[in-house]
Protein backbone atom coordinates (compact mmCIF):
# COMPACT_ATOMS: atom_id res chain seq x y z
CA UNK A 1 0.00 0.00 0.00
CA UNK A 2 1.02 3.60 -0.56
CA UNK A 3 1.02 5.86 2.51
CA UNK A 4 1.14 9.65 2.52
CA UNK A 5 2.85 11.33 5.49
CA UNK A 6 2.04 14.96 6.15
CA UNK A 7 4.17 16.88 8.63
CA UNK A 8 7.55 15.72 9.90
CA UNK A 9 8.33 12.98 7.39
CA UNK A 10 11.83 12.38 8.72
CA UNK A 11 10.42 11.67 12.19
CA UNK A 12 8.09 9.11 10.64
CA UNK A 13 10.95 7.36 8.83
CA UNK A 14 13.03 7.28 12.03
CA UNK A 15 10.06 5.89 13.98
CA UNK A 16 9.64 3.16 11.38
CA UNK A 17 13.28 2.12 11.76
CA UNK A 18 12.99 2.14 15.56
CA UNK A 19 9.89 -0.05 15.37
CA UNK A 20 11.59 -2.23 12.76
CA UNK A 21 8.81 -1.61 10.24
CA UNK A 22 9.89 -2.20 6.67
CA UNK A 23 9.13 0.41 4.04
CA UNK A 24 10.41 1.30 0.58
CA UNK A 25 10.24 3.77 -2.30
CA UNK A 26 10.22 6.94 -0.20
CA UNK A 27 9.49 10.09 -2.23
CA UNK A 28 9.09 13.66 -1.15
CA UNK A 29 6.19 15.39 -2.84
CA UNK A 30 6.62 18.83 -1.28
CA UNK A 31 8.11 20.41 1.82
CA UNK A 32 5.49 18.88 4.10
CA UNK A 33 4.54 15.67 2.33
CA UNK A 34 6.34 12.37 1.86
CA UNK A 35 4.98 9.17 0.35
CA UNK A 36 6.21 5.64 0.95
CA UNK A 37 5.16 2.06 0.37
CA UNK A 38 4.65 -0.39 3.21
CA UNK A 39 2.58 -3.43 4.11
CA UNK A 40 -0.78 -3.11 5.78
CA UNK A 41 0.21 -4.75 9.16
CA UNK A 42 3.16 -2.34 9.44
CA UNK A 43 0.88 0.58 8.68
CA UNK A 44 -1.48 -0.48 11.47
CA UNK A 45 1.41 -0.63 13.97
CA UNK A 46 2.71 2.74 12.82
CA UNK A 47 -0.75 4.26 12.96
CA UNK A 48 -1.27 2.99 16.50
CA UNK A 49 2.04 4.34 17.80
CA UNK A 50 2.54 7.59 15.90
CA UNK A 51 2.52 10.88 17.79
CA UNK A 52 1.22 14.26 16.65
CA UNK A 53 4.28 15.26 14.61
CA UNK A 54 2.87 13.79 11.43
CA UNK A 55 -0.37 12.41 10.06
CA UNK A 56 -0.85 9.26 7.98
CA UNK A 57 -3.18 8.65 5.10
CA UNK A 58 -3.59 5.67 2.79
CA UNK A 59 -3.34 6.85 -0.81
CA UNK A 60 -3.70 3.53 -2.60
CA UNK A 61 -3.93 -0.08 -1.55
CA UNK A 62 -3.53 -3.42 -3.26
CA UNK A 63 -4.39 -6.90 -2.05
CA UNK A 64 -7.27 -8.81 -0.51
CA UNK A 65 -8.14 -6.50 2.46
CA UNK A 66 -8.52 -3.49 0.16
CA UNK A 67 -10.40 -5.51 -2.45
CA UNK A 68 -12.83 -6.81 0.18
CA UNK A 69 -13.28 -3.30 1.56
CA UNK A 70 -14.08 -1.98 -1.92
CA UNK A 71 -16.63 -4.65 -2.73
CA UNK A 72 -18.07 -5.29 0.70
CA UNK A 73 -21.37 -3.64 -0.21
CA UNK A 74 -21.70 -5.44 -3.50
CA UNK A 75 -23.63 -8.50 -2.39
CA UNK A 76 -24.27 -9.55 -5.97
CA UNK A 77 -20.59 -10.24 -6.53
CA UNK A 78 -20.36 -12.43 -3.44
CA UNK A 79 -23.54 -14.25 -4.40
CA UNK A 80 -22.25 -14.75 -7.96
CA UNK A 81 -18.92 -16.08 -6.70
CA UNK A 82 -20.68 -18.44 -4.32
CA UNK A 83 -23.00 -19.57 -7.10
CA UNK A 84 -20.00 -20.29 -9.35
CA UNK A 85 -18.33 -22.31 -6.61
CA UNK A 86 -21.50 -24.35 -6.10
CA UNK A 87 -21.79 -24.92 -9.86
CA UNK A 88 -18.17 -26.07 -10.07
CA UNK A 89 -18.65 -28.35 -7.06
CA UNK A 90 -21.83 -29.85 -8.53
CA UNK A 91 -20.28 -30.27 -11.98
CA UNK A 92 -17.46 -32.32 -10.49
CA UNK A 93 -20.02 -35.12 -9.91
CA UNK A 94 -20.56 -35.52 -13.65
CA UNK A 95 -18.44 -37.03 -16.39
CA UNK A 96 -17.29 -34.35 -18.80
CA UNK A 97 -14.48 -36.20 -20.53
CA UNK A 98 -14.69 -39.77 -21.78
CA UNK A 99 -11.71 -41.56 -23.27
CA UNK A 100 -10.97 -45.10 -24.41
CA UNK A 101 -7.62 -46.80 -24.07
CA UNK A 102 -6.24 -50.26 -24.76
CA UNK A 103 -8.30 -50.99 -27.90
CA UNK A 104 -6.59 -52.11 -31.08
CA UNK A 105 -9.10 -53.89 -33.29
CA UNK A 106 -12.33 -52.78 -31.65
CA UNK A 107 -13.00 -49.20 -32.65
CA UNK A 108 -13.34 -46.39 -30.15
CA UNK A 109 -16.72 -45.52 -31.61
CA UNK A 110 -18.04 -49.02 -30.99
CA UNK A 111 -16.99 -48.90 -27.35
CA UNK A 112 -18.44 -45.42 -26.86
CA UNK A 113 -21.73 -46.48 -28.50
CA UNK A 114 -21.97 -49.48 -26.20
CA UNK A 115 -21.28 -47.27 -23.19
CA UNK A 116 -23.94 -44.85 -24.41
CA UNK A 117 -26.48 -47.65 -24.61
CA UNK A 118 -25.63 -48.58 -21.02
CA UNK A 119 -26.19 -45.00 -19.90
CA UNK A 120 -22.60 -43.79 -19.63
CA UNK A 121 -21.92 -40.70 -21.73
CA UNK A 122 -20.80 -37.10 -21.36
CA UNK A 123 -22.92 -35.58 -18.60
CA UNK A 124 -23.63 -38.83 -16.71
CA UNK A 125 -23.55 -38.60 -12.93
CA UNK A 126 -20.48 -40.54 -11.89
CA UNK A 127 -22.04 -41.55 -8.57
CA UNK A 128 -24.69 -43.53 -10.44
CA UNK A 129 -22.22 -45.65 -12.41
CA UNK A 130 -22.23 -49.27 -11.28
CA UNK A 131 -18.80 -50.56 -12.21
CA UNK A 132 -19.55 -54.26 -11.86
CA UNK A 133 -22.76 -54.10 -13.87
CA UNK A 134 -21.09 -51.97 -16.52
CA UNK A 135 -18.14 -54.31 -16.87
CA UNK A 136 -20.38 -57.40 -17.24
CA UNK A 137 -22.66 -55.75 -19.75
CA UNK A 138 -19.80 -54.39 -21.84
CA UNK A 139 -18.17 -57.83 -22.09
CA UNK A 140 -21.48 -59.28 -23.26
CA UNK A 141 -22.12 -56.47 -25.74
CA UNK A 142 -18.65 -56.63 -27.28
CA UNK A 143 -17.46 -60.25 -27.28
CA UNK A 144 -14.05 -59.19 -28.63
CA UNK A 145 -13.25 -57.70 -25.23
CA UNK A 146 -11.80 -59.85 -22.47
CA UNK A 147 -11.67 -57.15 -19.78
CA UNK A 148 -13.30 -53.79 -19.22
CA UNK A 149 -13.03 -51.14 -16.51
CA UNK A 150 -14.20 -47.56 -16.31
CA UNK A 151 -11.76 -45.51 -14.25
CA UNK A 152 -13.30 -42.26 -13.11
CA UNK A 153 -11.08 -39.52 -11.76
CA UNK A 154 -12.97 -36.32 -11.04
CA UNK A 155 -14.87 -35.49 -14.19
CA UNK A 156 -12.63 -37.57 -16.41
CA UNK A 157 -13.52 -41.17 -17.23
CA UNK A 158 -11.19 -43.55 -19.01
CA UNK A 159 -12.63 -46.77 -20.41
CA UNK A 160 -9.79 -49.26 -20.26
CA UNK A 161 -10.24 -52.38 -22.31
CA UNK A 162 -8.32 -55.49 -23.12
CA UNK A 163 -9.10 -57.42 -26.24
CA UNK A 164 -9.32 -61.19 -26.63
CA UNK A 165 -6.36 -62.76 -28.34
CA UNK A 166 -7.19 -64.28 -31.70
CA UNK A 167 -7.43 -68.06 -31.59
CA UNK A 168 -4.56 -69.71 -33.48
CA UNK A 169 -5.56 -71.41 -36.67
CA UNK A 170 -5.84 -75.12 -36.02
CA UNK A 171 -4.30 -77.49 -38.53
CA UNK A 172 -6.74 -80.23 -39.33
CA UNK A 173 -4.38 -83.08 -40.15
CA UNK A 174 -7.25 -85.29 -41.37
CA UNK A 175 -8.58 -82.76 -43.86
CA UNK A 176 -7.38 -83.69 -47.38
CA UNK A 177 -5.70 -80.72 -49.01
CA UNK A 178 -3.57 -79.99 -52.06
CA UNK A 179 -0.93 -77.32 -52.56
CA UNK A 180 -1.38 -75.20 -55.64
CA UNK A 181 0.64 -72.39 -57.22
CA UNK A 182 -0.45 -68.93 -56.25
CA UNK A 183 1.72 -67.34 -58.95
CA UNK A 184 3.43 -68.40 -62.15
CA UNK A 185 7.19 -69.00 -62.09
CA UNK A 186 10.11 -71.40 -62.29
CA UNK A 187 10.50 -73.62 -59.24
CA UNK A 188 13.74 -73.14 -57.28
CA UNK A 189 13.00 -75.22 -54.18
CA UNK A 190 10.50 -78.05 -53.65
CA UNK A 191 10.26 -79.64 -50.21
CA UNK A 192 7.27 -81.98 -49.84
CA UNK A 193 6.60 -83.05 -46.26
CA UNK A 194 3.28 -84.76 -46.96
CA UNK A 195 1.47 -85.52 -50.20
CA UNK A 196 2.61 -86.33 -53.72
CA UNK A 197 4.87 -83.81 -55.41
CA UNK A 198 3.95 -83.28 -59.06
CA UNK A 199 6.81 -80.94 -60.08
CA UNK A 200 10.55 -80.74 -59.52
CA UNK A 201 13.08 -77.90 -59.32
CA UNK A 202 13.49 -76.12 -62.66
CA UNK A 203 9.93 -76.81 -63.85
CA UNK A 204 7.84 -73.87 -64.97
CA UNK A 205 4.42 -73.70 -63.35
CA UNK A 206 1.50 -71.42 -64.03
CA UNK A 207 -0.87 -69.86 -61.57
CA UNK A 208 -3.50 -72.27 -60.19
CA UNK A 209 -1.65 -75.47 -61.04
CA UNK A 210 -1.61 -78.17 -58.35
CA UNK A 211 1.96 -78.60 -57.18
CA UNK A 212 1.47 -81.20 -54.46
CA UNK A 213 -1.51 -83.51 -54.56
CA UNK A 214 -3.23 -84.74 -51.42
CA UNK A 215 -3.76 -88.10 -52.98
CA UNK A 216 -1.16 -90.78 -52.22
CA UNK A 217 -1.35 -94.06 -54.03
CA UNK A 218 -0.47 -97.24 -52.25
CA UNK A 219 -0.23 -100.73 -53.75
CA UNK A 220 -1.91 -102.36 -50.78
CA UNK A 221 -4.67 -99.94 -49.84
CA UNK A 222 -5.17 -98.01 -53.07
CA UNK A 223 -5.47 -94.23 -52.98
CA UNK A 224 -5.60 -92.38 -49.69
CA UNK A 225 -6.01 -88.67 -49.05
CA UNK A 226 -3.74 -86.70 -46.81
CA UNK A 227 -3.21 -83.14 -45.66
CA UNK A 228 -0.48 -81.91 -48.02
CA UNK A 229 2.35 -79.93 -46.50
CA UNK A 230 5.08 -78.47 -48.72
CA UNK A 231 7.50 -75.59 -49.07
CA UNK A 232 7.58 -74.43 -52.69
CA UNK A 233 9.76 -71.52 -53.81
CA UNK A 234 9.81 -70.19 -57.36
CA UNK A 235 11.45 -67.45 -59.35
CA UNK A 236 8.73 -65.02 -60.36
CA UNK A 237 8.72 -61.96 -62.58
CA UNK A 238 6.86 -58.73 -62.06
CA UNK A 239 6.07 -55.84 -64.37
CA UNK A 240 4.70 -52.96 -62.39
CA UNK A 241 3.84 -49.48 -63.49
CA UNK A 242 3.05 -46.19 -61.76
CA UNK A 243 2.39 -42.70 -63.04
CA UNK A 244 2.15 -39.17 -61.74
CA UNK A 245 1.05 -35.91 -63.43
CA UNK A 246 3.90 -33.49 -64.08
CA UNK A 247 1.70 -30.62 -62.99
CA UNK A 248 0.04 -30.61 -59.63
CA UNK A 249 -2.33 -28.34 -57.79
CA UNK A 250 -0.88 -26.72 -54.68
CA UNK A 251 -2.26 -24.28 -52.13
CA UNK A 252 -1.17 -20.68 -52.21
CA UNK A 253 -2.23 -19.12 -48.92
CA UNK A 254 -3.54 -15.61 -49.41
CA UNK A 255 -2.93 -14.62 -45.79
CA UNK A 256 -6.59 -13.75 -45.31
CA UNK A 257 -7.19 -15.63 -42.08
CA UNK A 258 -10.42 -15.47 -40.14
CA UNK A 259 -11.06 -16.68 -36.66
CA UNK A 260 -14.34 -17.70 -35.11
CA UNK A 261 -14.99 -18.56 -31.52
CA UNK A 262 -17.69 -20.65 -29.92
CA UNK A 263 -18.47 -21.56 -26.34
CA UNK A 264 -19.18 -25.16 -25.36
CA UNK A 265 -21.50 -25.68 -22.42
CA UNK A 266 -21.91 -29.41 -21.90
CA UNK A 267 -23.30 -30.68 -25.21
CA UNK A 268 -24.51 -27.26 -26.33
CA UNK A 269 -22.50 -24.97 -28.56
CA UNK A 270 -22.88 -21.22 -28.51
CA UNK A 271 -21.37 -19.33 -31.41
CA UNK A 272 -19.69 -16.14 -30.31
CA UNK A 273 -19.28 -14.87 -33.86
CA UNK A 274 -22.48 -14.26 -35.78
CA UNK A 275 -21.01 -12.34 -38.69
CA UNK A 276 -19.78 -13.92 -41.91
CA UNK A 277 -20.79 -17.45 -41.14
CA UNK A 278 -20.53 -18.58 -44.73
CA UNK A 279 -16.91 -18.69 -45.70
CA UNK A 280 -16.55 -18.75 -49.47
CA UNK A 281 -13.73 -19.98 -51.67
CA UNK A 282 -11.10 -22.51 -50.75
CA UNK A 283 -9.85 -22.58 -47.20
CA UNK A 284 -8.35 -24.80 -44.54
CA UNK A 285 -10.27 -25.02 -41.32
CA UNK A 286 -8.28 -25.60 -38.14
CA UNK A 287 -10.30 -26.26 -35.00
CA UNK A 288 -8.78 -25.95 -31.55
CA UNK A 289 -10.78 -26.89 -28.47
CA UNK A 290 -9.61 -25.60 -25.10
CA UNK A 291 -11.48 -27.14 -22.22
CA UNK A 292 -11.60 -25.36 -18.92
CA UNK A 293 -9.96 -27.35 -16.14
CA UNK A 294 -9.51 -26.94 -12.45
CA UNK A 295 -6.06 -26.87 -10.87
CA UNK A 296 -6.16 -30.65 -10.29
CA UNK A 297 -6.96 -31.42 -13.94
CA UNK A 298 -10.68 -31.92 -13.41
CA UNK A 299 -12.45 -31.09 -16.65
CA UNK A 300 -15.36 -28.67 -16.55
CA UNK A 301 -18.25 -28.71 -19.02
CA UNK A 302 -17.09 -25.37 -20.38
CA UNK A 303 -14.75 -24.99 -23.32
CA UNK A 304 -13.75 -22.50 -25.94
CA UNK A 305 -13.62 -23.52 -29.58
CA UNK A 306 -11.40 -21.57 -31.91
CA UNK A 307 -11.87 -22.10 -35.61
CA UNK A 308 -9.24 -20.63 -37.90
CA UNK A 309 -10.04 -20.35 -41.60
CA UNK A 310 -6.94 -20.03 -43.76
CA UNK A 311 -7.92 -18.97 -47.25
CA UNK A 312 -5.90 -20.23 -50.18
CA UNK A 313 -5.99 -20.24 -53.95
CA UNK A 314 -5.33 -23.46 -55.84
CA UNK A 315 -2.50 -22.96 -58.30
CA UNK A 316 -0.86 -25.30 -60.78
CA UNK A 317 2.82 -25.97 -60.18
CA UNK A 318 5.32 -28.04 -62.14
CA UNK A 319 6.73 -31.13 -60.47
CA UNK A 320 10.46 -31.79 -60.48
CA UNK A 321 10.79 -34.80 -62.88
CA UNK A 322 13.78 -36.29 -61.07
CA UNK A 323 12.09 -36.11 -57.68
CA UNK A 324 8.87 -37.49 -59.15
CA UNK A 325 10.73 -40.40 -60.76
CA UNK A 326 12.45 -41.20 -57.49
CA UNK A 327 9.13 -41.06 -55.69
CA UNK A 328 7.51 -43.45 -58.16
CA UNK A 329 10.45 -45.86 -57.94
CA UNK A 330 10.08 -45.93 -54.16
CA UNK A 331 6.35 -46.52 -54.47
CA UNK A 332 6.87 -49.39 -56.92
CA UNK A 333 9.52 -50.97 -54.68
CA UNK A 334 7.13 -50.78 -51.72
CA UNK A 335 4.33 -52.27 -53.80
CA UNK A 336 6.58 -55.15 -54.88
CA UNK A 337 7.64 -55.84 -51.29
CA UNK A 338 3.99 -56.03 -50.29
CA UNK A 339 3.26 -58.49 -53.10
CA UNK A 340 6.12 -60.91 -52.43
CA UNK A 341 5.56 -60.93 -48.66
CA UNK A 342 8.05 -61.28 -45.84
CA UNK A 343 9.82 -64.44 -47.05
CA UNK A 344 10.35 -63.14 -50.57
CA UNK A 345 13.56 -61.76 -52.01
CA UNK A 346 14.12 -59.33 -54.88
CA UNK A 347 16.87 -60.71 -57.09
CA UNK A 348 17.00 -57.86 -59.59
CA UNK A 349 14.98 -54.80 -60.51
CA UNK A 350 15.18 -52.30 -63.35
CA UNK A 351 13.23 -49.10 -63.96
CA UNK A 352 12.25 -47.32 -67.12
CA UNK A 353 10.77 -43.81 -67.13
CA UNK A 354 8.87 -42.10 -69.95
CA UNK A 355 6.82 -38.94 -70.27
CA UNK A 356 3.48 -39.01 -72.08
CA UNK A 357 0.75 -36.39 -72.28
CA UNK A 358 1.82 -34.56 -69.16
CA UNK A 359 2.28 -37.77 -67.20
CA UNK A 360 5.49 -39.28 -65.91
CA UNK A 361 5.24 -43.05 -66.14
CA UNK A 362 7.75 -45.38 -64.49
CA UNK A 363 7.81 -49.09 -65.35
CA UNK A 364 9.53 -51.64 -63.18
CA UNK A 365 10.67 -55.10 -64.13
CA UNK A 366 11.75 -57.29 -61.24
CA UNK A 367 12.80 -60.88 -60.71
CA UNK A 368 12.03 -62.29 -57.28
CA UNK A 369 12.17 -65.54 -55.39
CA UNK A 370 9.19 -66.22 -53.16
CA UNK A 371 7.03 -68.95 -51.77
CA UNK A 372 4.16 -69.67 -54.14
CA UNK A 373 2.59 -72.79 -52.60
CA UNK A 374 -0.81 -72.34 -50.99
CA UNK A 375 -2.90 -75.02 -49.34
CA UNK A 376 -6.38 -75.68 -50.63
CA UNK A 377 -8.98 -78.12 -49.45
CA UNK A 378 -9.66 -80.86 -51.95
CA UNK A 379 -12.99 -80.37 -53.61
CA UNK A 380 -15.78 -82.93 -53.35
CA UNK A 381 -15.46 -83.41 -57.09
CA UNK A 382 -11.80 -84.41 -56.78
CA UNK A 383 -12.61 -86.73 -53.90
CA UNK A 384 -15.53 -88.31 -55.83
CA UNK A 385 -13.35 -88.85 -58.88
CA UNK A 386 -10.68 -90.52 -56.83
CA UNK A 387 -13.26 -92.68 -55.08
CA UNK A 388 -14.70 -93.75 -58.38
CA UNK A 389 -11.21 -94.54 -59.66
CA UNK A 390 -10.59 -96.73 -56.63
CA UNK A 391 -13.83 -98.61 -57.18
CA UNK A 392 -12.94 -99.17 -60.82
CA UNK A 393 -9.56 -100.57 -59.80
CA UNK A 394 -11.17 -102.90 -57.25
CA UNK A 395 -13.61 -104.18 -59.84
Amino acid sequence: MRVRIEGDGEACLNLCTQLNLRFSDVRRLDAYTVEMSMQYPNYRKLHALHDGRFSLKIVRGWGTPFLLRRIKRRWGLFAGGLFCLVIVWCSSFYIWELEVSGNETVSQGEILRALDELGVEIGTNRLLVNQEYLSNEMLQKIPELSWFALNISGSRAVAQVQECEAEPKMLDALLPTSVYAEKSGVLTKVTVLNGTGLFKVGDAVSEGEILVSGRMDSLSTGARYVHSIAEIYAETQYDLEAEIPLETVTKSYTGANREKYALILGDARLNLCFMGRNQTGSYDKITTINKLRLWDGTALPIGLVKETYQAYEPICAAVDPEAAEKLLQERLAQQLEREIGEGGEIRSASFHALTEEGLLRVQMHAVCVEEIGVEREMTTKELAEAKQENQTKEE
Binding site: N14, T17, Q18, R28
Partner: protein, 97 residues
Protein backbone atom coordinates in the same frame (compact mmCIF):
# COMPACT_ATOMS: atom_id res chain seq x y z
CA UNK B 1 54.75 15.60 16.39
CA UNK B 2 51.10 14.76 17.08
CA UNK B 3 50.21 11.33 18.33
CA UNK B 4 48.48 9.07 15.84
CA UNK B 5 45.58 8.40 18.24
CA UNK B 6 44.93 11.98 19.18
CA UNK B 7 41.30 13.05 18.87
CA UNK B 8 40.01 9.49 18.65
CA UNK B 9 37.49 7.84 20.95
CA UNK B 10 38.48 5.01 23.23
CA UNK B 11 37.26 2.21 20.94
CA UNK B 12 39.06 3.88 18.05
CA UNK B 13 42.26 4.11 20.07
CA UNK B 14 42.01 0.44 20.99
CA UNK B 15 41.65 -0.41 17.32
CA UNK B 16 44.63 1.79 16.48
CA UNK B 17 46.76 0.18 19.23
CA UNK B 18 46.14 -3.28 17.83
CA UNK B 19 46.60 -2.07 14.23
CA UNK B 20 43.05 -3.06 13.47
CA UNK B 21 40.99 -1.25 10.81
CA UNK B 22 39.36 1.80 12.40
CA UNK B 23 35.89 0.81 11.10
CA UNK B 24 35.90 -2.22 13.39
CA UNK B 25 35.55 0.09 16.35
CA UNK B 26 32.10 0.04 17.89
CA UNK B 27 29.79 2.95 17.06
CA UNK B 28 31.64 4.38 14.09
CA UNK B 29 29.44 5.43 11.15
CA UNK B 30 30.63 3.97 7.91
CA UNK B 31 29.72 5.49 4.56
CA UNK B 32 30.30 3.60 1.33
CA UNK B 33 29.69 5.31 -2.00
CA UNK B 34 29.51 3.31 -5.21
CA UNK B 35 30.12 5.52 -8.22
CA UNK B 36 27.83 8.47 -7.95
CA UNK B 37 24.52 6.66 -7.75
CA UNK B 38 24.48 4.64 -4.55
CA UNK B 39 25.37 5.55 -0.98
CA UNK B 40 25.38 2.95 1.76
CA UNK B 41 25.41 4.25 5.34
CA UNK B 42 26.00 1.84 8.22
CA UNK B 43 25.45 2.56 11.88
CA UNK B 44 23.37 5.70 11.28
CA UNK B 45 21.36 7.48 13.93
CA UNK B 46 18.36 8.50 11.86
CA UNK B 47 17.36 10.90 9.15
CA UNK B 48 17.45 14.61 9.84
CA UNK B 49 16.17 15.90 6.52
CA UNK B 50 14.75 14.13 3.51
CA UNK B 51 14.27 15.50 0.02
CA UNK B 52 15.00 14.56 -3.56
CA UNK B 53 17.88 17.09 -3.77
CA UNK B 54 19.47 16.65 -0.40
CA UNK B 55 19.33 14.18 2.46
CA UNK B 56 20.85 14.71 5.88
CA UNK B 57 21.63 11.66 7.98
CA UNK B 58 22.67 11.67 11.60
CA UNK B 59 26.00 9.88 12.06
CA UNK B 60 27.75 8.88 15.26
CA UNK B 61 29.60 12.19 15.58
CA UNK B 62 28.83 14.09 12.38
CA UNK B 63 25.89 14.67 10.14
CA UNK B 64 26.25 13.32 6.61
CA UNK B 65 24.86 15.66 3.98
CA UNK B 66 24.21 14.10 0.58
CA UNK B 67 23.32 16.47 -2.27
CA UNK B 68 22.33 15.57 -5.78
CA UNK B 69 19.33 14.97 -8.02
CA UNK B 70 16.51 12.41 -7.83
CA UNK B 71 17.71 11.17 -4.47
CA UNK B 72 15.53 8.56 -2.83
CA UNK B 73 15.70 6.24 0.10
CA UNK B 74 15.86 2.72 -1.23
CA UNK B 75 15.73 0.90 2.10
CA UNK B 76 16.28 1.67 5.72
CA UNK B 77 16.70 -0.35 8.89
CA UNK B 78 17.87 0.42 12.40
CA UNK B 79 21.45 -0.22 11.39
CA UNK B 80 21.86 0.77 7.76
CA UNK B 81 20.24 2.65 4.91
CA UNK B 82 20.74 2.84 1.17
CA UNK B 83 20.26 5.96 -0.92
CA UNK B 84 20.02 5.88 -4.69
CA UNK B 85 20.14 8.77 -7.13
CA UNK B 86 22.55 11.10 -8.85
CA UNK B 87 24.93 12.00 -6.01
CA UNK B 88 26.89 15.21 -6.55
CA UNK B 89 28.41 16.02 -3.14
CA UNK B 90 28.83 14.25 0.15
CA UNK B 91 29.71 16.43 3.11
CA UNK B 92 30.39 15.82 6.80
CA UNK B 93 29.11 18.45 9.14
CA UNK B 94 29.37 18.75 12.92
CA UNK B 95 26.47 17.15 14.68
CA UNK B 96 23.63 19.66 14.84
CA UNK B 97 21.86 17.90 17.69
Amino acid sequence: MKKRTEGLSVPERVSACFDLPIETAVGITRVTIAGNHRVHVENHKGIAEYGDQHIVIHGSRQDIVICGRDLRLRSMSNYELVILGNVQTLELKPDGR
